[in-house]
Amino acid sequence: MTKISIRDVSKTFQVRDDPEPFTALAGTDLDVREGEFLTLVGPSGCGKSTLLDLIAGLTAPTSGEIRIDGTPVTGPGLDRGVVFQQYALFPWRTAQANVEFGLEAKGVPRKERARRAREHLALVGLAGFGERYPHELSGGMRQRVAIARSLAFDPDVLLMDEPFAALDAQTRESLQEELLRVWEHTGKTVVFITHGIDEAVYLGERVAVMTSRPGRVKEVVDVRFDTREGDLRAHPAFGEYRHHVWSLLREEVAAAQVQEREVATSHG
């Protein structure tokens, strides 16, 4: 049932010119269930991206442990796909070749690679755009390519770090809907970082709210609607969830601001 288990995870960074290590995460606990869509919100700089990097295996925790399917994470792997806010597409590769990237790493034969890449471009609504280079695509389309790339090598877990934050509101909404469709279609476990409360409530089956730095998970809010038909955002329950998450966050944002002011004054 539990896909990702995060146990008492801390992460500190050694900052230049500062003998004191900088604590980004302290004692974070979180369980992500198999196949669920979990959104993660928290004040700016509370360690959301740091936590995602740890799950991705891009960095190692200072203490504590992260397990996927009960096996400790020791490094990156194709069982997890990461989608970054800035798309991170390879600009010298076409959309098709970008989607094939992970498949090459996985050792999929050429023909099969091309077929799967085309299939996944179609899944995100980009059939026929395979020969475009990233600079020939709009922001929304680039992010679709990035999502297709992460889905193509068929990871169990999709880790997304504010993937829609750089997009305009309308593109963001259409991508949110498509992401939900793809999620329902593929049954992947999704961890989705966002700084938008609406986005968190709209997408997440559960919303994990983090404290200000050093980040921990403060509360996990279960989000349940009897129906997702019609304009979900106008649903009264939506407003209640939204308000609840907002109140949890507000205290933390205030705390974060006090902290920042203290840092600013202590550094001159």
Binding site: A56, F84, A88, W92, F101, A105, G140, A166
Partner: protein, 298 residues
Amino acid sequence: MADQKLLPGDVHWYDLPDEAADAPDDAANLPGGAADVPEERPRRRLPGRWLRRAATNSTAILLLLAAWEALPRLGVLDPVFVPPLSEDLVAWYDLLVTGRLPEHLGASVARSLAGFGLAIVLAIPLGLLIGWYRPVADFLTPLLELFRNTSAVALLPVFTLILGIGETTKVTFALYACAWPILLNTISGVKTVEPLLIKSARSMGLGPAGLFQKVILPAAVPTIFTGVRLAGAHSILVLLFAEMVGAKAGLGYLILDTQSSFRIPDMYAGIITISALGVLFNLLLVGVERRFSTWRTT
């Protein structure tokens, strides 16, 4: 990193006024996704526009050539020191048909290409190595900066002392001058690969070898080619100098020799050849560079 850009991800909704938080970056997109409008592909230039541009670009050159012809004839310039263009072209033609120009040209081109080619073969792998091992790069950079800013010309006497005045000196000299821009650009190309791309590739399980082959190298290619193009220009410039100091053939020798024996139109013929050679070589390299960096348009 000194000039870290502020990525949109670093700006959070609490830091922004409401409108800015939702600033549309691709407003052309409509909901539903299918209406995503891609940016327009660059259009081919129309022949009419191309002609007009060609005319604009060549006006200054044509004026220079006209002045070159007219001023000596009008007596504004002394025709002994600056013969009219037509006389220089006649001299050029004579040099061409007697085979003397092809001989000098051939000697120069062979030397620059040898130096240039060797520089590419040596400096690119070396630069990749230095750039990849960051501590090595940090260690060597001050030294490289020092050498880069020491004019190769200043070192020619040293080369001559060590290697004599034969072909080896000239080729080595061109090689030395060409190596710096290639080396420094290759190092910087490798070092300045977008960290997010590396992170993204690492997240897909690529190890150091895979990263190097699939991310670092392709990302660095345009920067490397800029270095190669600069080196191409260097190869001709510095070589001419070497040929003026000690040589029995080559365009540099031709120019100096004709000047000292007062064959002034022949001297200008040599100069015209060098200019044309330089421009052609540069055009060729710019074309190659462009081919290798089409993706770097944003």
